[in-house]
């Protein structure tokens, strides 16, 4: 069937997806319609749970049928409706005409097969290319996606590649058969900001070179603006607004779109307080993990996770710690709280902590707390919210009567904006943002003075990120808290930090007052990091990792 520019390549009409489970019916996608023309990029934006991934997967019919069903709607691809198409015919379309890139490059490649084998498989399946021809095509693809020295990489296993390289291989896999439509399901969410910028640039380049259409799923509005021509805003399974990107961004019509666009965390960092006492100080702090080899396990070298970091943090301030993944940010936070062993003095409110044993540390734990990144992993799934929050009280106030303890739990939950009556429930019944609030209540119930926040907003949606930021700010003002805020998300750091250190390979590259540093970064690395985070721009090679 001849294609003109006027007829869309893919046309989704009134598509619904329902899930049947145990007699219950849930509507995940509710009568959505959108078109993708040849060479065009359409973005589906929405929070987690809005049904955007589900909509994308139903285009490829990759949902768990028959528990998932399409009660109505059509997916017309090149004039053919895919919804009633049998599985055998669908397999021909998949990977050949339409292909997909998933979010997590760690798990979407088979760890037991070499790169060459994985790409060759799909060539063989759809095109019947084998032998030297296949190898030549694989090398061509790897060159296309920007893998340096592709010949030497053919025999690599996925674990031998970095996250960015793995995602490049995933893209090569998706492009192997020159699809007409590429579905990218949050392709950069699991990557560092600098790598994210590179991958986006690559996708954009490839698209214009190969002339394919792209369906881009993301929760990040910044990315949409950068890559998409057309945007569909989804919430609760419905597309509430769609149109050309510029139009939607400059003149949003629907209340939800307006809310989403305004969701950027408010920039209101805690002020510097040079006259307040020093809360936390380290001098040349080192965390070295020994690398042991041989039968006798002698130490042959060290992995320097934190290599000589000195910080100084005054009461009421917020220290932002930024850097790519693997730069030692989290290790630094854990070392300061003495959760992993380290070398070098750690002084907390005038007390030397480094030499203290576990039991001697306990009185200080009361004052120093931590909130972790993953709200799913940091709460014990088998303890009720009340048990989780009151645990610290049991340790530090073992003689506190039950009623008072319960009262403290209730007030801590109220303070972080949770309904106290929900305290008998289990963590899995709460959303990500609510779980992060529970984790904060666990820290807040002890009324600490110093809190390490280890990427507390990274796993959350934009709207909730700004809510959590506001909550952190409120708690800081109400209780005169000192924060150490570890994050790779520079927008959030900019919103909260009064002081900033930039880390790379365990060392501090740059430090100073946050306002000055953001305005005038001194090193190339910091500049590249900021450019990638704020403008999604790539730096020249060599400055950041790939």
């Amino acid at each position: 069937m001849p294609m003109s520019d006027a007829t869309p390549l893919l046309s989704v009409r009134d598509l619904s997806v329902t899930f049947h489970q145990g007699g219950k019916q849930t509507c995940a996608v509710d009568r959505i319609s959108f078109d993708i023309r040849k060479g065009e990029t359409v973005a589906l934006v929405g929070e987690s749970g809005s049904g955007k991934s589900c909509a994308a997967l139903s285009v490829m019919k990759l949902l768990p049928y028959p528990s998932a069903q399409h009660p109505c709607g059509q997916v017309i691809f090149k004039g053919q409706d895919l919804v009633p198409l049998p599985e055998a015919k669908m397999r021909v379309v998949r990977g050949d005409d339409i292909s997909i890139i998933f979010q997590e490059p760690m798990t979407s490649l088979n760890p037991l097969h070499t790169i060459e084998k994985q790409i060759t498989e799909i060539l063989e399946l759809h095109r019947g290319i084998t032998g030297p021809a296949a190898r030549a095509r694989v090398i061509e693809l790897l060159t296309q996606v920007g893998i340096p020295e592709p010949e030497t990489r053919l025999k690599s296993y996925p674990h031998q590649l970095s996250g960015g390289q793995r995602q490049r291989v995933m893209i090569a896999l998706a492009l192997a058969n020159e699809p007409d439509l590429l579905i990218a399901d949050e392709p950069t969410t699991a990557l560092d900001v600098t790598v994210q910028a590179q991958i986006l640039k690559l996708l954009k380049d490839l698209q214009s070179r190969l002339g394919m259409a792209m369906l881009f799923i993301t929760h990040d509005l910044g990315i949409v603006r950068k890559v998409a021509d057309h945007v569909c805003v989804m919430t609760k399974g419905k597309i509430v607004e769609q149109g050309p990107v510029e139009q939607v961004y400059t003149n949003p019509q629907h209340a939800y779109t307006q809310q989403l666009l305004a969701a950027e965390p408010k920039k209101d960092p805690a002020p510097l307080k040079p006259d307040r006492p020093i809360m936390m100080q380290t001098d040349n702090l080192k965390v070295w993990f020994p690398v042991k080899r041989g039968i006798l396990r002698h130490t042959v070298g060290h992995i320097k996770a934190v290599d000589g970091v000195s910080i100084e943090l005054r009461k009421g301030e917020t220290l932002g710690v930024v850097g790519e993944s693997g730069s030692g940010k989290t290790t630094l936070g854990l070392a300061i709280l003495r959760l992993i062993s380290s070398d070098g003095p750690i002084v907390f409110m005038g007390n030397q902590l480094q030499s203290l044993r576990f039991k001697a540390m306990r009185p200080f734990r009361h004052n120093m707390q931590i909130v972790f990144q993953d709200p799913y992993g940091s709460l014990s799934p088998r303890m009720s919210v009340e048990d989780i929050v009151e645990e610290g009280l049991r340790v530090h106030h073992p003689k506190m009567p039950r009623e008072e303890r319960e009262q403290r739990v209730i007030s801590a939950l109220t303070e972080v904006g949770l309904e106290p009556s929900t305290r008998h429930r289990y963590p899995h019944e709460f959303s990500g943002g609510q779980r992060q609030r529970i984790a904060m209540a666990r820290a807040a119930v002890l009324q600490p003075t110093f809190v390490v926040l280890d990427e507390p907003t990274s796993a959350l949606d934009m709207l909730i990120q700004s809510q959590i930021c506001a909550l952190l700010r409120k708690l800081q003002r109400d209780h005169d808290l000192t924060y150490m805020f570890i994050s790779h998300d520079l927008k959030v750091v900019a919103a909260l930090a009064s002081r900033l250190i930039v880390m790379r390979h365990g060392k501090v590259v740059e430090e100073g007052a946050a306002a000055e540093l953001f305005a005038a970064p001194k090193t190339d690395y910091t500049r590249a990091l900021f450019a990638a985070a704020f403008n999604l721009e790539t730096a020249s090679t060599g400055v950041v990792s790939d």
Partner: protein, 397 residues
């Protein structure tokens, strides 16, 4: 955005998307909502729930086996007085004239027609349990040589033979629902007592071996390093000791009784859970909530008990029914081989052994087989339901 943020970003929903309905019930017993939910979830598994009821009824009945199958009457009315032979032992002189030369002052055998006559003489009467034999009662007037058929299965030919030979006539013989074994003991009575001893043995062995195994696994997994290394090597050596041979040697030295057997099997049974719990603790000790607990200053023992153990419990509970049924079948197997409980004890294994020795007496093998099979199946159905009930992600399905 306002600092005073809303309570929930999204309304609370279950995994399937339906709104959470929290049943608020006030019962007489104060059950925490969590355990209430587990119980509800357990009940939803019909097979497990029904199995639990059947098993509990059977188990409770078997605990009162003395009132169901006994060669002592429940109640004797004699000479205007009440006697409870189930509870008290009365000498046979109680029921006779003073100086009767046939009475020796030993415990009365109520199955003896002579004693029965004595009681009947003084307007006395006897209330027997439903099955008037204990596990070690020998039938004195069988209609056929032992093992004798179930009474209802006796054919005319059998009766004729009984009348010709030196046996009781069909109508006069004791009624044995499932016949007798080769030593002339009632099979039903032995099944009831055998069931009780098997379940009790299995339960005690399971509980003790789980406690030891979980503790050992927890310590290894949590501390890791050298503790783990040394313990693992020890367990490897320990498990390679041939269990059966050791058992043979030990039973030659010690008199095998209930507790000796329990001890010997315990020596090897505790290892089964160690690997599992160790793996769970190894996995769990690096979770962020464990780090969070350490950051709160919680001690190692409390972290292991409160945080890691409940998470390791699902994996443990998954195995418990299998360990329980394994323990039961271990005892049965030893009895079958003749190295188990001392001779004369009610034992399912011995019954199976007799079934094997007397292939013509189908009632022995079949009743032993069905008892063991039903008991093990019930235990496993219950175990499955318990396991699912403890899984928080399954709570609403």
């Amino acid at each position: 955005m306002d600092d005073r943020t809303t309570v929930s970003e999204t309304p609370l929903t279950t995994a399937t998307g339906g709104p959470v309905v929290m049943p608020v019930r006030r019962g007489f017993v104060n059950v925490s909502p969590i355990n209430r939910r587990r119980w509800d979830s357990f009940k939803r598994n019909r097979r497990g729930y029904v199995s639990l009821w059947i098993f509990m009824v059977l188990f409770v009945l078997s605990l009162f086996a003395e009132f169901i199958a006994n060669d002592k009457p429940l109640y004797v009315r004699f000479n205007g007085q009440s006697y409870f032979p189930v509870f008290f032992t009365y000498p046979d002189t109680t029921f006779g004239e003073k100086g009767d030369p046939d009475l020796f002052g030993t415990a009365a055998d109520y199955r003896d027609p002579f004693i029965q006559q004595l009681i009947a003489k003084k307007d006395g009467w006897i209330v027997w349990p439903p099955i008037p034999f204990s596990y070690d009662t020998r039938i004195s007037n069988p209609p056929a040589p032992f093992p004798s058929k179930p009474t209802w299965a006796l054919s005319e030919a059998d009766c004729k033979k009984a009348a010709e030979g030196n046996f009781a006539r069909c109508g006069e013989a004791d009624y044995n629902w499932l016949g007798t074994d080769q030593q002339g003991r009632d099979v039903v009575a032995r099944l009831i007592y055998g069931f009780r001893i098997s379940v009790l043995f299995g339960l005690i062995l399971t509980i003790l071996s789980s406690v030891i195994g979980v503790a050992a696994g927890a310590v290894q997994g949590y501390f890791g390093g050298w503790t783990d290394l040394l313990f693992q090597r020890f367990i490897e050596i320990w498990t390679s000791v041939p269990e059966l041979y050791l058992l043979l040697i030990l039973s030659a030295v010690l008199t095998p009784g209930f507790f000796v057997l329990l001890g010997i099997l315990l020596l090897f049974a505790w290892v089964r859970l160690v690997g599992l719990v160790r793996a769970e603790f190894l996995r769990g000790r690096n979770f962020e909530y464990i780090q969070a607990a350490r950051a709160l200053g919680v001690s190692n023992a409390v972290i292991m008990f409160r945080h890691l153990l409940p998470n390791a419990m699902v994996a443990t509970l998954t195995f418990l029914p299998f360990i329980l049924s394994g323990s039961v079948s271990a005892l049965t197997a030893l009895d079958f081989l003749g190295f188990g409980l001392p001779p004369g004890s009610p034992s399912l294994g011995e019954l199976l052994g007799e079934g094997k020795a007397n292939p013509g007496a189908a009632w022995l093998g079949l009743s032993g087989f069905f008892t063991v099979a039903i008991m093990l199946s019930l235990l496993i159905f219950i175990g499955e339901a318990v396991r699912d009930a403890f899984d928080p992600r399954k709570a609403f399905r």
